[in-house]
Every structure is written in structure tokens, then in C-alpha cells.
């Protein structure tokens, strides 16, 4: 019998599965961090995890709350300065897979984490891009994890914080960018991939129990589905166990209302 799981767990597991043992990942806080460490603790024990705080090849036992928790440095192979991280390691082209998320995403996987509303007079001022503008173009490929909602998956993002596939097609190439950009978007409802030609995000698999209608209703544009949409295999017992233990250790470690 299948164990029950939450939509967020399904998203994290789907992201973890997309990672391989040979990946060198630039990890963000939250779902990416959970996914990468889940992968490391299951099928990809040698995966290299890099956090922008300078921690190279880190193996945290609890998930960091911040990108620079002590746990990351203590379990890292080595820790470099932040200029070195962005210059030698990210810009140097050594990262195979970078993770991003955002407040808004469009059909070409461009992301906004800067403002809701106009830049000069925003209705909500968000934290901003951080590492994203260069992660988006320097990593071999980008995985995106986001909760699926009409507020987030929008026809038009308010600000281009980081490049996805631009206006689609060969937009990246036209900008002189040679990396792949977003190759997968993992949400709590489904997995999307850009169409080979148009680069428009296309649903390739639906999480167990999720319908096309639910996805369409949670997307701010007319979302396309692949010819053969499959069902995302549900999280297996090991994945759930490892993920939940990771979260439990994390909650205990961070204290308060985790």
C-alpha cells in the first residue's frame, strides 16, 4: 500500500530524482536544498552540492535555514570566499545544474523575484535576485521548483529577474548564452519541460491524483500538455523516510516554529 504524501513532498522527490550522481549543483535554500540532499542521501551519494556562501561539496545532516548556516561549512570539503565562488566556480562554468525558484514565472520559465508591480513603485518589494541572474546563465542547466498557482504562473512577469528561455525559440542563443537554461520545472502538481523548438513549458507528467484541469486552473496562461503525459511515480518508501527524517532533524535543530 502506498504511503500518503503531501504535494510539497512530491515536488521535492520529483526534483531529487532528476539529479544524477555526476551532478555538481548550485543549491538554493528551501525545496532545492531538500531535493539535493534527498538525492545525496538516496540514489546520488556522490552528487556535489555547492551553496553560494562559498561552501564546496557540502554534506549537511540538517537542512540549512540560511544559505550560510554553520552546518554547511562544517560538512564541506572546503570553503572559499564569495568572490571566488561567483568568479571561479559559477562563472567558471563548473556547475552542471543550478536551482531557481521565484514569485512569478512565465511560459518561457523566465523568473521574477524582484517586485510585484512596477520596479520604481512596487506593490510588493521582494528580496531581489541574489545569485539568480548569473546562476540562470552560467549553470549547464536549470531546475525550477515552485508551488503551482495562478499568482505565480503568470502570463507576464512584472520583472525579468533572471533569464529562462526569453521570448522562446533561440532567445538564449541570440543573447550569446550557450547554456541550456531551464530544462525542468517541478511544481506540487506536475513536472514541466520546455518544448524542444518553441521552449514553451509543457506538462510532461502529472503527480498522482492530479488532473490536467487542476493544472490548467492553477496556471495563468493556456498551459500545454505533452502528447503523452505520464503519471509521476509516487514517492517511494525510502524517499519519504529519508525526506521526513531530514525535515525532522532540521526542525529540531532550528528550534522555534519551524
Amino acid at each position: 500500500m502506498r504511503q500518503p504524501f503531501t504535494p510539497n513532498e512530491m515536488m521535492t522527490v520529483a526534483a531529487a530524482r532528476a539529479l544524477t550522481n555526476d551532478d555538481v549543483c548550485f543549491v538554493g535554500i528551501g525545496a532545492p536544498s531538500a531535493a539535493c540532499n534527498l538525492a545525496r542521501q538516496t540514489h546520488a551519494p556522490d552528487i556535489v552540492l555547492i551553496y553560494e556562501s562559498g561552501t564546496l561539496e557540502t554534506r549537511p545532516n540538517v537542512l540549512p535555514l540560511s544559505i550560510g548556516d554553520g552546518e554547511l561549512c562544517e560538512t564541506a570539503l572546503t570553503t572559499v570566499s564569495v568572490p571566488e565562488m561567483f568568479r571561479y566556480w559559477l562563472q567558471g562554468g563548473r556547475i552542471t545544474t543550478g536551482f531557481l525558484g521565484g514569485a512569478q514565472i512565465d511560459r518561457f520559465a523566465n523568473l521574477n523575484t524582484t517586485v510585484v508591480g512596477p520596479y520604481e513603485k512596487p506593490s510588493v518589494r521582494l528580496p531581489g535576485g541574489g545569485g539568480a541572474p548569473e546562476i540562470a546563465t552560467s549553470c549547464g542547466q536549470i531546475f525550477i521548483t515552485m508551488a503551482h498557482s495562478k499568482r505565480a504562473f503568470v502570463e507576464k512577469i512584472d520583472f525579468f529577474t533572471s533569464l529562462g528561455h526569453g521570448e522562446g525559440g533561440d532567445s538564449r542563443k541570440k543573447l550569446g548564452v550557450t547554456t541550456k537554461g531551464p530544462t525542468k520545472v517541478m511544481t506540487d502538481l506536475c513536472v514541466m519541460e520546455p518544448d524542444e523548438k518553441t521552449k514553451e513549458l509543457t506538462v510532461v507528467s502529472l503527480h498522482p491524483g492530479i488532473t490536467k484541469e487542476q493544472v490548467s486552473a492553477a496556471t495563468g496562461w493556456q498551459i500545454k500538455f505533452a502528447t503523452n503525459v505520464i503519471e509521476t511515480p509516487a514517492p517511494n518508501e525510502t524517499e519519504l523516510k529519508v525526506l521526513r527524517e531530514l525535515h525532522a532533524r532540521t526542525k529540531a535543530a532550528h528550534g522555534g516554529n519551524a
Binding site: L65, S66, D69, S81, F86, P127, T137, G255
Partner: protein, 282 residues
């Protein structure tokens, strides 16, 4: 040469109204005690520079010390928004706040260029991103060999850099260990620098010949403030107080709870209030 001062003296002597100030520390070693002292001394119109403004700038902004913030990621890590920053930027409370926004890569390069005495840095950045439209200081150069267009950012210009570190010796040489961020660059980029440390020791004893050490002649003032990075942390001493970072979300959300907290925990306290967070790892 480094002077050994009390925190109030070090801030009084080195931080002036209107200064360009970087208080750095990438999550780790954030100089909170020094930030609190600046608040107590009621500095005004500061131009605050920091990659990740964090709670320390939320506090300075909410207390009316800042008129400009240069940054690349302005949130409470893993928690959410910086409410005081948002309130200042969106509503002008307690005063208007101007922003200069970059990416992390741009800021890191801007610190590096300043430490290297260069007027600008070149990096492969902002491709397909919108920030160059709204930040006129982002420009480009053409590679004279390949013709590639690359982004440029001006070197940071700092009157004063303030950092926290593990320890200093009696000549003012400073050892940083762990996540070292852009602190060396910030100190080398600044006209003046203030370093708070967990302890002052007879012998620095860096564990490696390549440990990150700032010579005393690059530092203006050294102050022992045990626990002075709390709720951030000091590698080898005490851990990040993640519970406090989460609690800050509620404290800072409303103006009155924020003001009450600052009054009780900053204005009515001194640097010795940090001492109970100090702890050396076994």
C-alpha cells in the same frame, strides 16, 4: 595600525553621518553588536552597502539611520521579507530609502575590484536580466580579444567597513575562519575599518599558512565583543540562532512591536548584552 578601543569609541571615531558603510558577513560573522552601537549613537543618512541586508540592516533602516541601501538580496533567509526595509522603501517609514540593486555576482565583483584598487569589474553577468534597465551603474565593455560583450560594475566605494571575526592578536592581526564572504575585500576596499572579535589573544596561531588573516595595519580599530555576531554566528564559537531569525518575522512585521523590541534590546543595552551568547566550541 590597529587601535584597541571600546565599541562606543570605535564607532564614534570611525562612522560619521552620511558615510558609505559596509557591514559584511555572508550569513556568518555579521557584526550585530557594532550595528546596535551605530543605532545607539543615532547615525543618520548612512549609505548602507551589503550583499544580503539581513536583520542587521532591517534594524538600522527601521531606526532611521539609512538613506540609501546597495544590495543584492534583501530578505530574511529562509523566512521571508525584511519588513522594516519594505516599510521604508514602500512607505517611507521612518524615512525615505533609496535603493541601488545588483546581483550577488556583481556585488562580489565590485568588492573584489575595490580591494584590487580598480575602478570597475568585468564579469559575465545580467544576460537577459532586467536590472541593467533600472540600475544605470551597470554598463558593459567589449573584450578586446574576442569581441564578447561583458557586464561591468563600479568598484564599491566605502568610507568604513565593519566586520566581526574570531580573534585578533595584540598587534591587531585578525583571523577569520569558515564562511569568509567578502569581508577581506570590504576591509581592503574601505578607508577605515572596525573589527569586532570574539577574543583578543597573545598568539593568533592560524591553523594554516593560508588561513584568512588581515594584518593589523589594514585595520583601524579592533574591539573585543564576545557574542557580537548574535543572532548570526561565529564558526568555532556559537551557532546561528535560527529560532531568533524566525522570531524576527513577527517582531519586525509591525512598527510598534519593532520599536518596542529595539528600545528594550538595543537602546537600553550595551555591547556587554551580547556576552551571554558567547561560547567557544569544545
Amino acid at each position: 595600525m590597529a587601535q584597541f578601543l571600546k565599541l562606543s569609541e570605535a564607532i564614534e571615531a570611525n562612522v560619521k553621518d552620511g558615510d558609505a558603510v559596509a557591514m559584511e558577513g555572508f550569513t556568518h560573522l555579521i557584526p550585530f553588536a557594532a550595528g546596535h552601537e551605530i543605532i545607539r549613537q543615532k547615525r543618520k543618512r548612512l549609505s548602507l552597502i551589503r550583499m544580503t541586508p539581513d536583520l542587521i540592516y532591517d534594524q538600522l533602516i527601521g531606526m532611521g539611520c539609512a538613506e540609501r541601501m546597495t544590495f543584492s538580496w534583501g530578505g530574511n533567509p529562509g523566512v521571508g521579507s525584511l519588513h522594516r526595509f519594505r516599510d521604508a522603501y514602500q512607505n517611507g517609514w521612518p524615512n525615505k530609502l533609496e535603493i541601488v540593486e545588483h546581483s550577488h555576482a556583481a556585488m562580489a565583483n565590485a568588492y573584489d575590484a575595490a580591494a584590487a584598487g580598480l575602478p570597475f569589474a568585468v564579469f559575465r553577468g545580467y544576460r537577459g536580466a532586467e536590472l541593467p534597465r533600472v540600475n544605470p551603474s551597470i554598463k558593459e565593455v567589449i573584450c578586446p580579444y574576442t569581441g564578447e560583450k561583458l557586464a561591468t560594475v563600479p568598484a564599491v566605494k566605502l568610507d568604513v567597513a565593519i566586520i566581526h571575526a574570531q580573534k585578533a592578536d595584540r598587534k591587531g592581526n585578525v583571523l577569520l575562519e569558515g564562511i569568509v564572504g567578502v569581508q577581506k575585500e570590504a576591509v581592503l576596499a574601505a578607508k577605515r575599518s572596525v573589527v569586532t572579535v570574539e577574543e583578543i589573544v597573545d598568539e593568533l596561531n592560524p591553523p594554516s599558512p593560508n588561513s584568512v588573516v588581515l594584518p593589523g595595519w589594514t585595520v583601524k580599530a579592533v574591539v573585543a565583543v564576545p557574542g557580537g555576531a548574535h543572532p548570526s554566528y561565529t564558526h568555532g564559537y556559537y551557532k546561528r540562532d535560527n529560532a531568533f531569525y524566525k522570531a524576527w518575522d513577527d517582531i519586525a512585521r509591525e512598527r510598534d512591536t519593532f520599536t518596542a523590541w529595539m528600545d528594550e534590546n538595543v537602546l537600553r543595552k550595551g555591547p556587554e548584552a551580547f556576552a551571554h551568547h558567547a561560547k567557544k566550541a569544545a
